[in-house]
């Protein structure tokens, strides 16, 4: 049995993580879904999320589940991206070159899912 998929191995998306085109996170803020554009950096396997601090934007509670989305492209076969589910915790540190004006979180990733519409293909159904 075969099926069509646009899913790809997340390993193939490392170029997106090295130079993040755009990123945002979603989290549950006491029953309200929050969606915030973020700065995202990946350094030596550590996932950094920079968000405006000082109450300008809601931020996730430390250890709360978040979903990070990184994507690019706007025409059908150019669209690709990755989402990462994990838990974010405020960090005292910040990534190299990271803006000190942002509050930096480190994301402990749990699940990665990547897609690429340009790589749509038939695969054997598992």
């Amino acid at each position: 049995m075969k099926r069509i998929t646009n899913r790809v191995d997340p390993e193939k998306m490392w170029d997106l993580l090295e130079k993040v085109p755009r990123a945002c996170i979603a989290f549950n803020n006491a029953g309200t879904v929050e969606l915030v554009p973020v700065e995202c950096r990946v350094e030596e396997g550590r996932f950094w999320i920079g968000m405006p601090g000082g109450g300008r934007e809601p931020v996730p509670g430390s250890g709360e589940p978040v979903k990070l989305l990184i994507d690019e492209g706007m025409h059908y076969f150019d669209m690709r991206g990755i989402w990462i589910r994990g838990r974010a915790a405020v960090s005292e540190e910040q990534p190299e070159g990271g803006s000190p004006a942002l509050t930096w979180f480190q994301l402990a990733p749990e699940t990665f899912v990547a897609w690429d519409f340009g790589a749509m293909r038939e695969v054997r159904k598992r």
Binding site: C24, L35, P37, V38, P52, Y76, D78, G118
Partner: protein, 164 residues
């Protein structure tokens, strides 16, 4: 800010991809990036009520969306919208939305160029959607999400994202 504000309408007209955040029935955050059209003061998205995002909306209809204003000069702002989502299954709504999506994404010079560049993959993409439709047929499938805006706000891009 409201949908009728010229700034909002202009920004939506320039935007190609939206990021949609929902809460799952268990309250877990979900995000997807999707195509959309604005029609009659609503945002319409081609995604089914049988997807994880669809099941989220059944439990939590409140959604948040981000728009990037990708077309034209790079904007220094990002638009965030909050609204309530429902699924529409009427064929007249689906037809209107699908036509709008085709005009916006395929019947343009860059859209056609993209299709032609991947002409060999187009039949695979068609089968991708046919497969989804076959799998969900007879399960009360509704393929159009309608989001009624409740609020809009502009977020300065510089505060969170370096220019790419």
């Amino acid at each position: 800010m409201r949908f009728e504000d010229p700034e909002v309408r202009e920004f939506l007209a320039r935007s190609m991809i939206l990021r949609l955040a929902t809460l799952s029935p268990k309250g877990q955050p979900r995000i997807r990036c999707l195509w959309f059209v604005c029609q009659r003061g609503r945002i319409y998205i081609f995604t089914a009520n049988t997807t994880p995002a669809g099941r989220s909306i059944t439990a939590h209809p409140e959604v948040a969306l981000l728009f990037d204003g990708e077309q034209g000069p790079r904007s220094e702002r990002i638009l965030r919208m909050r609204g309530r989502a429902v699924f529409r299954g009427e064929s007249r709504v689906a037809g209107r939305v699908m036509l709008g999506l085709a005009r916006k994404y395929f019947l343009t010079r860059p859209g056609l160029r993209n299709l032609l560049a991947h002409a060999r993959t187009v039949p695979v993409a068609v089968r991708f959607y046919a497969q989804g439709w076959r799998e969900e047929r007879g399960k009360g499938l509704k393929a159009i999400m309608e989001v009624a805006p409740e609020s809009f706000e502009f977020i300065p891009r510089g505060s969170v994202q370096a220019a790419s």
